[in-house]
Point group: C2
Chain length 407, copies 2
DNA sequence: CTCAATTTCTTGACGATGGAAAAGAAGTGC
DNA sequence: GCACTTCTTTTCCATCGTCAAGAAATTGAG
């Protein structure tokens, strides 16, 4: 293997280089559960007071956290508590989501608050015999590097603070090495994405499956703050699912897990592209559903929004019943997750939420009916903003930055 | 709450009372991975040599483990290694499985090797309006206590060594307190089983859901020895599933998990007793399947064996196709587990394996077809002996005895 | 037989970790 | 100012596990 020339992978990583295990624990607690006083940190982490003081000291010294002018303290009797907060702007991360036709990139602070977001179109290659267009991996990597540069240079001095890049790709990703094993959507196979992007940008790069990245975002900054066991269900082009059990993201022994889209729910349905029969995705995935709507409306539909719009037109009743039926299937699929894993909560998100009003009722009732006993996890519906996927990638980057691991 | 009189709950537990965390780790490694030399223990647990020595010392002193006359060492150069083994007979446990019409109890050593097993019939109560008979909980507890006594007294001196009782019950069990929240099969609701049995026997008692107990057995003495992520699928009266993810048994946020029997796989099927539609259990559970066979054979069938026998009689072809169809559904259900969790292996067991030959082919092909990509976990088919459920309960007792926790 | 070489096991010093308890700090309420 | 409360810091200590040195027990070569 020849060493690739170009900017060295600088590895600016060690944000918490001085961090002992307890310091990292305290830091992540502060990062995810907002400003807290030392006493609260102790309660939240289970550490004794003394241990908290010891853990906080190096964090203060390194500028990772700072004390707040105590203002908002409830000020009862006793010595006033000093709230401590993470210096969220001490470092930035960039998250990029790669879709078949565009890149979406966000620059966020350590709390995953989006500071700037950008979308750039990707040139598509029409491949003969392939119904969807695919993306050239070299083009994509160059374009991501360019996008990273643009986001980094948005403000003077900003570039120095960008500490990590997270990339979210649909498909099978080997997270340790940041290699895209296989992405049907993009037509990629065995692309050493992280390595190549790191060498182009000089920054550490983490690559993950998009649904899993979104799940990491929930784990750190969403329902995971109060839950050790939850699922994230996404419905859009595909139907996916990220699982956190016992506080840990479920990776799957062979890198595959959360393939909710390929549960078999109806033997009458035709074969799915995966080789299975009656797959959820083959019924309520974008392609299947929009096709069905298009046939009824006698008009091509390119997005969930289009389809929703048609539900008010002629044959609206039939179109609405297509959505209602999809809602039922989705409800059953979510119930399968609840029955099998028993998570505390299930977050529902994805592009299909544009049609939420059209399928909510049947989804909820099918879900409620199919859930076994007490398995009925609380459903959290999370409408998807266009940069959410990229923010998931940013959350991935933050988690790597804080906890270390793959680069 | 009046304190119940009778023999005190003696809590003979502290088998490893002197056990520090590392000692317990070493002990469980020895228990589950057989005799090992100190060097091997170090490799297996990740401890340094010194740490192993220190951890082993108290175990040797307390008689928990012993050195073996080194015989079987591969004897290369260097100081010969001394294999160390758990004193499996230093303590016994008793595992009891409660079914609707009988108790099955086993006495095992610490390696879950069955030393003696017994089955006693339970008097059934016919309840008006209830299609199956139920069991009076008081009768059952008395009968279990009696069974424990019988197994304990099988040999002089044995009773003193019995250290823990595990009980496996179908249904919803709160393991912490050993309370049976709801068992439809037995018709129980809110029975403080562990507490009452402990007070009757003077021994610590752990109660668990039967499928989960079987899963603990696999975790400690089965596939779990080489796997940190696996599923146990049982098919019999019901269809259940125990999950181990990241080395931890999945309990479910509300105590419910692994309800594989209530995945929806076919909207054409009638409603299941759980309120869902197209549940796996309503298609291939004992009741559903035997009914279908009975109709075809024009003859009542009471067990899987009966049904299998009929497959050679008149209308055998049709009966065989019933099994084949059940195999297909089972294959899809198992694939759902594989697709969602991505375990390394899936253990298939349960009474229905009596009919394995009749459904194996369709099951395997449906499983293979429905598994998404690399999710195809290795299937381990584990024919069920009649005391396996009870041995699961014993494994539960061992795990509690060694790791502490609920009593 | 003697002597390296080798591997296993033991021991003791050391650093890291985190808890308990006491002391100190900084307020409130009277 | 004084008691009282609560938060934070400090000090001391027990535990844990690594490291390095050395003791023990064997093989195999000379």
């Amino acid at each position: 293997m020849a060493t690739r020339p170009g900017p060295q992978p600088a590895r600016r990583d060690p944000l918490l280089a001085a961090g002992s295990a307890s310091s990292i624990k305290v830091f992540t607690a502060l990062l995810t559960r907002g400003p807290m006083t030392r006493a609260e940190i102790g309660a939240a982490t289970g550490f004794s007071g003394g241990a908290v003081t010891k853990a906080v000291q190096p964090l203060l010294a390194s500028g990772a956290v700072r004390e707040l002018p105590e203002q908002w303290a409830p000020s009862g009797a006793g010595r006033p508590a000093v709230p401590i907060t993470v210096n969220a702007e001490q470092a930035y991360v960039i998250g990029v989501k790669i879709t078949a036709d565009a890149l979406i990139g966000v620059l966020t602070d350590l709390r995953a608050t989006v500071i700037e977001s950008r979308r750039v179109a990707l040139p598509a290659i029409e491949e003969p015999g392939h119904h969807a267009h695919t993306v050239d991996p070299d083009d994509a990597i160059m374009a991501v590097a360019e996008l990273v540069r643009t986001l980094s240079d948005g403000q003077p001095g900003r570039a120095d603070r960008v500490a990590h890049i997270g990339v979210a790709v649909s498909g099978d990703v080997e997270e340790i090495t940041g290699t895209v094993r296989f992405s049907p959507l993009l037509g990629w196979r065995g692309i050493s994405f992280a390595e190549r992007l790191a060498s182009l940008t000089g920054l550490p790069v983490s690559v993950e499956n998009d649904v899993r990245a979104l799940t990491v975002a929930e784990q750190w900054f969403g329902v995971g703050v109060t839950c050790t066991s939850f699922a994230v269900v996404t419905v859009g082009t595909g139907v996916g699912c990220g699982l956190v059990v016992g506080g840990e993201l479920v990776a799957g022994a062979h890198g595959v897990a959360g393939e909710l889209g390929h549960l078999a729910v109806d033997p009458r349905e035709p074969e799915c592209h995966c080789g299975g029969t009656g797959c959820v995705e083959a019924i309520i995935g974008e392609a299947a559903l929009l096709d069905r709507v298009a046939v009824l409306a006698d008009q091509r539909t390119k997005s969930w929004q289009d389809a929703v719009a048609l539900a008010d037109g002629p044959r609206g009743a039939q179109i609405r019943s297509v959505f209602a039926d999809a809602g039922r299937v989705l409800g059953l699929a979510i119930a399968s997750v609840a029955n099998l894993i028993g998570p505390q909560r299930i977050v529902l998100t994805g592009e299909a939420l544009a049609a939420y009003d059209l399928f909510a009722e049947t989804m909820h009732s099918a879900y409620a009916a199919q859930c076994f006993g007490a398995a009925r996890a609380e459903l959290v519906v999370r409408p998807l903003q266009f940069e959410h996927w990229a923010r998931g990638a940013a959350a991935l980057a933050i988690s790597r930055l804080v906890c270390g691991a793959p680069a």
